[in-house]
Symmetry: C2
């Protein structure tokens, strides 16, 4: 019999599979992004050194100080990627009583949880290259589920990028469930929206949460595919635009657009709120902040 | 007999006195800040034209579209004041049902409210000159009260500025109630604090709210004194430092410090939340955002 305050009767092997995949994906992403840095040839920044990821380990503790896992932030400030952060974490502990009511299954076991995930935000030097966000996560309370998604934020209109990004994610979704793409792209549009500006954050992508069909292997195959699809399509968009020229006006437009990104993340984003309320590492939570921003 | 959904039985003359004072204070502040722009003589920016305020009128409407007053944003982007906004507003209407519970007296009259105030945020070009925030407000529901305050955010350590700013506000408080300064400076320290960073936003000042001693004229004399005291002390601090030289490193420190300002305002500030939840004008609400910010 399990203790009342432990997480669900759930195959511990799945936790290991998920955390291992997130780590491996992180490694492949960082390697690919460093390769992009090496091949850049844009006028303004070709004389800068190619960026390399640096890594910072952090440890999680509950509000009462009880330790429970941690994470690693990989951060690169390069000549293509002005600032890109890739964070992986695997933490466990107890949600605070005030927070439990918002989390499925958290009140049934005194707030005990286990969570693992990867989160990525890239802010690019070129306003011609869209910013991007990708996240995959597995949460275990008395219930367990998978969530994630990827979404694109062009700084200037770029319909072809939007089309290709969505087509790639649609193919990915269709490999797993014909209903997924419509449902998850609509969810993405609803989620990444700034009501106070009455405008979307970007051009969407997919967003999903609370996935538990009863077949974890099948569900996780979808999350893996989303991660691998991201790693396939986003570098293509970066390479498509990274050597193009841009004007100071386009750079200005980019820095103003980044302000909207900040507003969304600090006012609305659930991931940010989740991090702040679970005593998350502040560097990891605010890794998503753009390097340079303008408010007019 | 008054209708159930109107604001309290409260001297309408006081509303006019308050709104008129806020407008007059706005005019005097803008005039003083423009004078400062004209006398600047700092190496980096002396060739820029002196800043002048531009004004933008906005109108308030409740969520259902019912109009109810509005405000004026005065904005200056100058060579001393990189971005300073002074907003005055006088609005009325009904708080949304969800918001009423948080506002004293708002549930007793179906959310009817009247509010008038002045709000100011100044972000300076020089990292040697502290940023500042000042706000005065009068709210009427079934109850009525005054609130406000002023607080200083130096970008580099400047103990003399802190000392003088606090001394000035303490003298102001002491003219009205010997308990005010201790109470309101402690409230300011509690309020302008970033729990997620475990650091204060600035070096404090005073913050007060829900003032209603039963003698409105006396209470409002205090708010007027706070406004006039601000207009006396802050320009002195600006003139003290505005012609000093600064380094690129000091500028960088300033831009990073401004990120904390953004985090506070978007994550914690009640005024921002109040504005967003009452359908406030987005330009007026986010007028406080710094013009240029860095997250490292």
């Amino acid at each position: 019999m399990r203790r009342k305050d432990s997480t669900s009767v759930f195959d511990e092997k799945s936790k290991i599979i998920a955390a291992d995949f997130f780590r491996d994906l992180r490694n492949r992403i960082c390697s690919e992004f460093e390769q992009i840095e090496n091949t850049q040839n844009q006028t303004r920044h070709r004389d800068m050194p190619a960026g390399e990821f640096s890594r910072k380990v952090w440890h999680h503790a509950d509000e009462d100080g009880t330790p429970g896992g941690g994470g690693e932030i990989s951060l690169m400030k390069g000549r293509v990627f002005e600032k890109v952060g890739v964070n992986i974490s695997t933490i466990h502990g107890h949600f605070s009583p005030a927070f439990r009511a918002q989390i499925p299954g958290a009140e049934e076991n005194n707030g005990a949880f286990w969570a693992s995930g990867i989160s990525l935000v890239a802010h690019m030097r070129s306003p011609k290259v869209p910013a991007v966000h990708m996240n995959l996560r597995m949460i275990v309370t008395a219930k367990h589920w998978l969530g994630g998604g990827a979404d694109l934020t062009p700084m200037l209109p770029s319909p072809q990028d939007k089309t290709d990004f969505h087509a790639s994610l649609k193919e990915c979704c269709d490999r797993h469930d014909p209903k997924y793409y419509d449902e998850f792209s609509a969810w993405c549009d609803r989620y990444f929206f700034l009501p106070h500006r009455d405008e979307p954050r970007g051009v969407g992508g997919i967003f999903y949460d609370y996935i538990d069909t009863g077949d974890w292997d099948k569900d996780f195959a979808f999350s893996k595919d989303v991660g691998n699809t991201f790693l396939d399509i986003y570098p293509k968009l970066v390479r498509r635009h990274m050597n193009e020229e841009w004007s100071d006006e386009e750079r200005h437009t980019q820095l103003v657009k980044r302000g909207r990104y900040v507003e969304f993340n600090l006012i609305h984003d659930r991931g940010t709120q989740f991090g702040l309320k679970t005593g998350g590492n502040i560097d990891a939570i605010l890794m998503s902040m753009p390097p340079e921003v303008i408010w007019e």
